[in-house]
Structures are given as C-alpha cells and as structure tokens.
Amino acid sequence: MSNETRTTKQRAESARLFILLAVLLFIVARIAVRLDYLETSYSFYGWLLARATETDVIKPVLLTPGEQEATEENVFFEKVRTSLSERTGGQLVSEVEETHLWSLVLAEMKQPTRLEFERLASDGKLNLPYGAIDWSEESVGAHLGSLILGFRSAVADLLWLKVDEYWHQGRMEMMLPMMQTVVTLDPHFIEAWKIGAWHLAYNAAVTVDTLEEKQAFVEKGILFLQDGIKRNPRNHELYFDLGFSMYFLKLEDYENAAHYIRQADRYRPPDEKWIPRMMLLAYERGGHYEDALEGWRRYLTEIDPESNPGKRALYRLRALIAVRDERYDEALPILQEMFDTFPGANAFADIGITKINAMKAEAAGDLEGAKRLWQSLIDKAHLTVWDEAEANIARLNALIAVGGAATSES
C-alpha cells in the first residue's frame, strides 16, 4: 500500500471518528437536557411541598388569612397551586401522596412554569429546600470545599462536631450561626434541626435576663424547627419536637401543641406509641375532653389494647367531662372506680376526690367548705396542685369578701 493511499485511508477514518464524536456529544447534550429537566423538577417538587406545608400546616397557626405578603414567590406559588388543584380534586398539595405529586410535578414542569421557576430560582427569589449558600456569609470559607467537590453532608457533619465543641465551651455566639450553616449544607440533618431548636429555646434563652429576650429565643427555636419542617415536610420527629418540646412543655400552648403533634402522628412509624399518647394528652390539657376520650378509645382498639395509661385516661376523661358539666356526683364514683381498678394510682386519689369535693361545695354555695378543702391539699403538701389550690383559695377569699360586703350593705 502506497503512503498516499494510507494517508487517505487514515484521513477518512479520522473524519469518521470526528463524526462519531460529534454524534456522541449531541446525544450527551440531549441526555444532559433531560437530566436538567428532571433535576429542576426535583427541585420544584421540594420547593412546592415546602411551600404547601408552610401554607397548609404552619401558616394557619401563625397568620390569619389575608396576611400573606404579595412577594413574587407567593404569587408564583398561588398560580401553581391553582393549576394543580384542578388535578388533585381539591386535595391539599401538602397531603398528596409522593408518587402522585411527583407525576403532577413532571406534568407541571413544562413551559412556561419551568421557565418562571428557573428565573425566580436563579434570581434568588425562591426559598429552596436544598438551600444555596449565602456568599456574603462569614463562614462561607468553611464549606467552600464542600460546594466545589460535593461533600455537603460530610462537611455538615464536621461542622456539627464543632457546634458541639462550642456548646461545651459555652460559646453560644459562635455556635448559633454555625448551626444555621450546618442545616443549610444538609437540610436533611434531622438531629441538627432538633438539637438546634432545643439550644435556642432552652439553653440560649437562659443566658439572657429579660423576659422579652427569653421569648425572642423561644420564638427563634420555633422558627428554626418550622424551617426544618418545610425542608422535611413528612418527618414526624420535627413535628413532634415542635409540638411537644416547644408548645407543650415550653409554652404550655396546648392548641398549637395538639396541631403539630397531630401532624407527627400522621407520619409516625406504625410501632411508635408515644406520639399518639402525647397528642391525646395535649387534647386533654387543651380542654378537648371529648376528642381525647374518642382518641383514647381508638388508641386502645387499634394501637395498644393493653395500655394501662389508656385505660386510666378513659376514667379520668369521663370524670373531667362530668366535672366540666358540674355533674359532681357522677364524677366521684368514676374516679373511685379508677382508683379501685388501678391501685397504683392511689397516690393521686386524694387529690382528685378532694378537688371534686371542693368544686361541689363551691357549686352548692359552701365557699368556706370549698376553701377548707383546697387548704387541706396545701396542708398535705401535694406539690403538684399547690399553685392551683392557692389560686382557688385567693379566688374564694375574694368571693367571700364580696359576699360579706353585699350582706353588710343589705
């Protein structure tokens, strides 16, 4: 074969290879476009679910209707929600099952919604769950490597160890901003959301002096957990912590506690029994005795038929309903039956029966008798009802004084 023929053949082969390369690059670009579409849809899905959770679950607690600001994000969300509501049959977006929502998102992510979503995201006008890093932040250098090389979760873990170190050193001012960085890097770091909120509401709150400052920290803790919920809308642990640690224990706000623990109950694992029990306790403390009673009956039928706290709660709630309706004579035997069935609860028998007798005496107009009964609880050093007894004695004293004045006037 002559050199010329060989060169011509080589050139032809090179040309074929270049054509093959061009074709391959074209297909790579096509797949990249498809992947881009799927990734944008994934991001849109996260944003939509977070916004829907905020509107359907969190905002009703915080705001009354009409208080929502008309930001570009809100306007866009309302548009998408209206468009989706036709296909969800009126079901709330936050309640649509994952697979169905994903298929709805894929259909919705066609033009022009996709273009608008990309524009708003690129302008930083959307609060995306898998958050972008704020480049003006001081600690940005710490996670630069993670952004370039893609080790977000691992860097978040290392920073979390640093948070723990600062906590043990008592350097709260260093710890709090770093906690925010950790959850920005890894929004699925559930423990960071939970412990972060606890630090804010419980530990940071005791480092300040005034009540306003303490309340501000508790509020920050609540907002931190709500932010975590928006990024993990179906994680039962975050709902439970918000409901129980914040509203139930810290603020004694049983309405909000029941609202969030109810969400936790919805997404809890089937073998988790503590959450429904605390939900029913929140109902009870909030004065929703009938709901609590019904809930305990369901709990005993469907979740734990052998539950002693559940069986005791049935007696207790029936007694509470009778007391609320001023049917004291019905309440006393119910309570007595409970103490007979569960001798372990006898420590509380005296308190319960004395309280009902005091209320009964007051209803019958024997204010002095009622006062004596409340006083007997204080004398017996029943610490759990001390405040309640003192408040009732003060109230009864006021009533007696008003009654005495009325008698002397007449």
């Binding site: 390369l21 790579v28 992947l35 929502l101 898998y130 370039i148 691992a154 873990d157 160890l161 994680n235």
Partner: protein
C-alpha cells in the same frame, strides 16, 4: 479478544502499584475510623458513618481513578514496553479499549473493597444490608468512570504521568463546577448577551457535569417526602455510558495519531 489480555495485564500491573495500595489503605483506615467519630455525636451515628464512608469513597476513589487512568499509558511509554505490545498483531483501538477496561477492573476492586467495609460497618449499626449504600457506591463508580475516561484521554498526549494526573484533578474540580455555567448563561441572557448565553449553555450541556452524581447524598438520606429517584438513576447510567464513549473516542483519536 486481544483487548481482554491487555485489560488483564493492565489490572495485574495496576494492583502492584504502591501508590494505589497506599491510597486504598488510607481509605480503609478512614472508613474504619468513621465508627469512632460517632462517639462525638450520639444520636446521629448512622448518618455520620454513611457520610464519612461516602466522602472517603468519593475522595480516595477520585485519587485512585486519576492516578490509574493518568499513569497507565505514559508509564508504558517511559518503560518502552508499549513498543513490544504494539509490534504484535494488535489494533491500536484494541489497545485503548484493553487499557481502559483494565483501569475499570482496578477501580471496581478498590471501590468494592471500600464499599464492602462501609457495608460491614453499617451492618453492625443497623443490622440490615443497606441497599441504599450499594446504590450510592454505584453512583460514585459511575462518576469515577467518567473521570477516568477523560483523564485516560488526556494521558494519550503525554509522555509523562504528571500532566494527566494534574489534568485529572482539574477535570474533577471543573466537573463539579459545571452547574454554575447554567446560572452564568441565565445572567448573560438577562443582560441581553444572547450569543454568549447560548455558547455558555452549550458548554453546560456538553461538558461532563459531575455534580449530577451528587444525588447520592439525597439518596442515602432519603426522606419520606422525597420522590423515588430511580428515573434519574437510569438517565445517569445512560449519561455515563455516553460520556465514557466520548472519552474513549477522544483517546482513540489521539492515540492513533501518536507516533509510537
């Protein structure tokens, strides 16, 4: 079947390299050490183990991929063993394919060992075989496959291993920065620079975007609200195959013109 013998020989040669053995030992130590990190963060042991294992797999996998893919052909050129091989009745394409397949055997062995240790550590914590971890390791391998293909292509123009290894590290970094081109293109479009925006967008689509494989982070910490990402995984497999094909095509184009 000539390429198979080349691949087998490349594998044998690769597993004897002290640098690679060193990387593997350090990687195994880091993965094994992840279990001690959990002492510092009670309550999040499994998450910490998963994150450290995945990061170690990715980081050391990258080093192994870059060193293996970048040094195989230049070392043969330096040792002049390539002349003996190419003097045999063997097409250059078969040599290229054989070398690449051999590199993949080495990568699979190393990643397999690291993945197995991670799996064992997770098993001791969770008492289940984590299929999610297996999928995440697979995604890491796909990423390293693309990286090794491109580094391998660069190694075809070099007679020393230094240039391809440095290039490989840069390909890894740039591959993770490609997604910023999308934002850049949007900004150029908003600024009225349509032509520049189109060129940047084209680069964004054509350049291998290694950040796409970061979906393993979401996969390993899958939340109840997350949609199933199987569809993205299959697209990623296809994307990897095509990127690797591009890498091999470039490697062949460069190697067939090389005067050896």
């Amino acid at each position: 079947m000539n390429f198979f013998w080349i691949a087998a020989n490349t594998y044998r040669e690769g597993i004897r390299k002290k640098t690679l053995i060193g990387f593997l030992i350090v990687a195994l130590l880091v993965i094994g050490g992840s279990t001690f990190l959990t002492v510092l963060s009670p309550g999040e042991e499994v998450k910490m183990v998963k994150d450290v294992c995945l990061a170690a797999l990715s980081m050391f996998g990258m080093l192994i991929a870059v060193f293996t893919a970048g040094s195989m052909v230049p070392t043969e050129l330096e040792n002049k063993t390539i002349y003996t091989v190419l003097s045999k009745p063997l097409r250059r394409f078969e040599y290229v394919i054989g070398k690449f397949v051999g590199i993949q055997f080495i990568l699979i062995l190393n990643l397999g060992l690291m993945g197995l240790l991670s799996l064992v550590i997770l098993f001791t914590r969770e008492h289940i075989i984590s299929t999610i971890l297996i999928k995440s390791v697979l995604l890491t391998y796909l990423e390293l496959m693309v990286l090794s293909a491109l580094t391998f292509a660069v190694s075809m123009v070099s007679s020393s291993a230094v240039l391809p290894i440095i290039s490989g590290a840069f390909i890894y970094i740039i591959g993770h920065l490609v997604e910023y081109l999308k934002g850049l293109s949007n900004h150029a479009m908003q600024a009225g620079q349509a032509l520049i925006a189109s060129v940047i967008k084209l680069l964004y689509w054509v350049l291998p975007d290694l950040n796409k494989y970061n979906i393993r982070d979401q996969l390993i910490h899958l939340q109840p609200n997350d949609p199933r990402i199987g569809i993205i995984m299959w697209q990623l497999v296809l994307y990897t195959i095509l990127c690797v094909a591009v890498g091999i095509c470039i490697a062949h184009l460069l190697f067939r013109r090389k005067e050896v």
